[in-house]
Symmetry: C2
Subunit: 162 residues, 2 copies
Amino acid sequence: MTNEELFAKTTINSWKLAIDRLDQAFSSLSDGELQAEVAPGRNRVFYLLGHLTAVHDRLFPLLGFGERLHPELDEDFLTNPDRKSPDRVSAADLRHAWSEVNQKLMAAFVALPAGDWLKKHDAVSEEDFAKEPLRNRLTVLQSRTIHAGFHGGQIILAVKRG
Amino acid sequence: MTNEELFAKTTINSWKLAIDRLDQAFSSLSDGELQAEVAPGRNRVFYLLGHLTAVHDRLFPLLGFGERLHPELDEDFLTNPDRKSPDRVSAADLRHAWSEVNQKLMAAFVALPAGDWLKKHDAVSEEDFAKEPLRNRLTVLQSRTIHAGFHGGQIILAVKRG
């Protein structure tokens, strides 16, 4: 394995660890318990499950992997805050979308040639990327990994209470 | 810049983003507000500030950068849970240690030759590392970055409430 490949593989593995921990947290909660708030008056775990699914789903076009699987989640879980309107997606459907998105993302991550992680992502222009080479796909992956950890830290507050 | 260097630089930049966000959160809280719990009955922000400082301080020996700066923090902020005993460190001293540790870590990160991130860390044996090459320094850095995000997600609950 080349050093470049080891860098990519290590980073993908770190993502996987963050996702595995979230999987574990979501699995430990019943559909009813997903309705718990992470702290009084704050987001429900249900909202964060949808939010993380939508954010991860957006990685498909952003990283050049193709079309999104669940753009219908954006309005409820990205554009709007929690409880803006009554839930329109069931917990079962949300859990399914979460698993589906992460499984297909992982397959795409593993298939990407290591050097391609250093190429620009879809939301930066060629001109800007020439000036700022860190606006690459690797930055996006690492940023979403931290984001997964960020909400994971909140979700665990509801898990331990439950 | 080689691809290897770009991989290392991107990863260090992701760490920096996570630290910058924590800096911002801690700075936005007064010493009194650091006493707030992130959720009812959970860790105080004060404890998490000490906890993150101690965990980051342990990176010096773990990554081969030398001696720790603040081993005295372990008992209160790593070994024991929050409020096991009365606070022995002032908020000012804790804030200072947090900044000092992260500044010196960043200097060490930037000085490390890119390929060295793929070398083993101090807590894995040569034999185990030969079998599991992902137990490298890069994994440690990424794991601590996620950890910083994890507690950052909790701390923000106290910031927004404050």
